[in-house]
């Protein structure tokens, strides 16, 4: 019995090694599978993967309106304090006080692109952009204000 098990062990080992070698040979024979991007050369035709995350941005529509309510959920969700919501109170048409953002300060130099703020946002006001050429000469330029000047909240977003 021992001999049979010994030989079976060898056979199984050989089969599993062959499986690994088939995989590498598959890639060796298919240069189209190569995923390397020759970045500065192909800057115009750069093909980034769908889930690549570069920085947090706040999309605005053509009327300079965003969806942020200033609820601070993103600030709470951020593990290293990259986001800071500076809010103010606006008086609505009915004469009520309502919370709204003044500035959404984003510290790119602290951000780890973990995506937690995007998941925490109840109104989908922020999202991850795929830009990645972030290098600047002065660190202070990495502190960004995400809402554009003079922007306001979109109609109907609570």
């Amino acid at each position: 019995m021992g001999v049979i098990r010994y030989l079976r062990d060898i056979w199984r080992g050989a089969v599993s090694l062959a499986r690994g070698m088939r995989r590498t040979l598959y890639y060796f024979l298919r240069p189209k599978e190569i995923i390397t991007q020759q970045y500065p050369d192909n800057r115009l035709t750069l093909n980034l993967p769908e889930r690549f995350k570069g920085e947090v941005v706040m999309p605005h529509n053509e009327n300079n309106e965003h969806r942020c309510t200033g609820c601070q959920a993103c600030e709470l969700a951020c593990p290293n304090g990259s986001l800071k919501v500076i809010y103010k109170y606006e008086i609505t048409a009915e004469g009520k006080k309502k919370k709204a953002i003044d500035k959404l300060v984003y510290h790119l130099e602290l951000c780890t692109m973990c995506n937690l703020c995007i998941e925490a946002c109840p109104s989908d006001a922020i999202k991850m952009a795929q830009t990645f050429e972030h290098s600047v000469f002065d660190r202070s330029q990495l502190i960004k204000i995400l809402n554009k000047p003079g922007s306001k909240i979109m109609e109907g977003v609570e």
């Binding site: 060898i10 070698m21 590498t24 890639y27 599978e33 995923i35």
Partner: protein
């Protein structure tokens, strides 16, 4: 048709006409030495580039592609860089041994080159005991590693050298036994004799089962003997920085690096000679027509083609398998390869006696 053997013959005649036999021999030796060094340099450049390209393709990368067309000159640039770098000697190193180790490595590689048949009837030294000579010389490869490991006065080097000592001493046995399989079938140790015995088919076809087993064992054993992944415990980057050559830099490091690749080439060449017929073209028994067509391809092309095929297989191993632990490494040798090899030699002897091979 052009062949190495004719070229060598013509040079010999040309020299013999102009000077005495002794001087002609001396000059021929110098020429052969220069050609060996040239081959070394070429092989170093080509094999390193090949390794990097193959690894890149297997890992879905591009590999070197900046220096020269398609990165062809990358290794030349690297070599130039290594030559210009400062060679540091660590404080507290045993200077004499530290400098001798890389020289020892490269000299052993050069000695290994002697009995290789690069083309039909084209050898530096067709020694009577060809295959035994190769296994004797390859058993010296470990000495330079041990010397380097000791002389560096570094813990990483010492650990790397110790691992490689245990490894090479064990895997030599399997390599020897698998070589013995073919030697049993051929009945000779001489390389030219072994090649001639494959004129009606290579041993891998003629010798069937025992030769197949021996071939697999041989490939595994030479991968281990040349300290290449998955058996690269001696230089395991992730554990020992660079193992036995941690403290080496510049030209001395380059010599170690070159010696490793030359050893791969030579041992693959021996493997190609033993199992795949070396410079012998692809022949099938007495099919005169096919044999005649195959003879049109020069024998040197056959030799280098087969050798590079085996080198590719070894690179393929390297970029597929993870590194073994030292106990797994020794288990593989002593519990699997060695018993299998011994049984296999008996099987081969039985087949040789009964004449069951083709």
């Amino acid at each position: 048709m052009w062949s190495f053997q004719q070229a060598a013959q013509q040079i010999h005649e040309w020299l013999s006409e102009r000077m005495s036999a002794g001087w002609a021999l001396a000059l021929e030796m110098v020429l052969a030495g220069l050609m060996a060094i040239g081959l070394f340099a070429m092989l170093g450049l080509i094999l390193v580039l090949m390794e990097r390209k193959v690894s890149a393709r297997m890992q879905v990368r591009l590999g070197p592609n900046r220096v020269g067309p398609k990165g062809m000159l990358q290794t030349a640039a690297d070599t130039l860089k290594l030559l210009l770098k400062e060679g540091l000697t660590p404080d507290g190193a045993d200077k004499w041994l530290f400098h001798a180790a890389p020289i020892m490595a490269i000299v052993v590689s050069m000695l290994l080159l002697a009995p290789i048949a690069f083309a039909m009837d084209f050898q530096l030294w067709d020694v009577n005991i060809g295959v035994l000579y190769v296994s004797a010389m390859s058993s010296l490869m470990v000495i330079s590693i041990l010397m380097a490991g000791w002389a560096s006065n570094s813990k990483y080097s010492l650990l790397g050298a110790m691992r490689s000592g245990a490894q090479i001493v064990s895997y030599e046995l399997s390599a020897g036994l698998s070589v013995l399989t073919v030697v049993t079938l051929t009945g000779s140790l001489q390389i030219s004799e072994i090649i001639r015995s494959q004129a009606d088919g290579w041993w891998i076809f003629k010798g069937h089962v025992p030769v197949w087993i021996a071939f697999v064992i041989f490939i595994i054993a030479i991968t281990a003997e040349t300290n290449r992944a998955p058996f690269d415990l001696a230089e395991a980057e992730s554990e020992l920085t660079a193992g036995f050559h941690t403290e080496y830099s510049g030209i001395k490091f380059a010599l170690f690096f070159l010696a490793e690749y030359i050893n791969v080439f030579v041992l693959c060449g021996i493997g190609a000679t033993l199992f795949l017929g070396g410079p012998m073209p692809f022949h099938i028994g007495s099919w005169e027509g096919l044999n005649r067509i195959m003879d049109w391809i020069p024998s040197s092309v056959w030799f280098f083609g087969k050798t590079f095929l085996l080198i590719f297989v070894i690179m393929w191993f390297r970029w597929t398998f993870p590194r073994l632990r030292i106990d797994q490494l020794l288990n593989l040798e002593w519990k699997y390869l060695l018993p299998l090899g011994m049984v296999n030699v008996l099987l081969a002897a039985l087949i040789a006696i009964k004449g069951w091979h083709f």
